[in-house]
Symmetry: C2
DNA sequence: TTTTTACTTGACCTTAACGTAAACGTAAAC
DNA sequence: GTTTACGTTTACGTTAAGGTCAAGTAAAAA
């Protein structure tokens, strides 16, 4: 029984982000809460989009890149051209992420090499304190 | 026979970055070219550091994080405390990178799911155009 | 009925990582 | 001997992603 509606403080505490950030994402068009009087009410769709936003940020996407992807999700994909464009956009993001993964692996190898060199030192230099 | 010295335009064209960026990294203490008169001369060590800087940027490190790691490399590791600190710092970076990798994998799965949903649509909706 | 409490809208502030333009030095090329 | 090419410093500008007030509304609690 998932919630259908959320107010700003519920979301900001759930996701551990500030209300300011949520309003900022709204300004940028990433979410579109409706209003109850002056107050924002976030839907399940907004909730799902916020999950995407935060995951996107964790992998290094900018808000405008995230916006592009979100637009892919929620758009009409009736036309072939549209669908092909969506698939292409996904493939591009995926290969960018694969490249980042390779860079991460390279960096991890470098860091391990650094560790090894320091640990080798341990063998050659008498331990001091 | 690798080069021993570089000037700013050689490096900026080799790495495809601007001279401004190289001067900026110097301001931040990431590289320390010596001078020939007023002109900068970059050593092989600077060259190696730039490789690290750019790789670090590709995996989402900030310049100050990169600076930390570079300092680990080129510092005196004679003392046990120092070496343990270096190893700990490496391990922390490595686990952060592993987490990022997991987030990337999650994101790739999401993007593939999006692709699938669009491709399923292809089966259900007659192709137009 | 007055206080809280939660929420709102501006509006300006901040940090990172350079970009960009001005003004100047110097050495090679013409 | 003066352009041209390449380099320098100084300094202000820019974008992204919010942070941080200030001032006001509105409902709920005391």
């Amino acid at each position: 029984m998932a919630k259908e509606e959320y107010n700003i403080s519920e979301l900001s505490s759930e996701f551990n982000i500030t209300p300011r950030a949520l309003r900022f994402y709204e300004d940028k068009g990433l979410i579109k809460p409706i209003r109850n009087g002056q107050n924002r009410i976030y839907s399940r769709k907004d909730h799902a989009r916020i999950i995407w936003i935060l995951r996107g940020k964790r992998v290094g996407f900018s808000l405008s890149e995230i916006s592009e992807v979100l637009n892919l999700y929620y758009q009409d994909n009736g036309l072939k051209k549209q669908r092909l464009a969506t698939i292409k956009a996904c493939d591009e993001k995926i290969s960018a992420l694969e490249i980042t993964k390779e860079n991460i692996n390279e960096t991890i190898r470098e860091l391990n090499a650094l560790k090894d060199s320091v640990e080798d030192l341990k063998k050659n230099i008498p331990l001091k304190e």
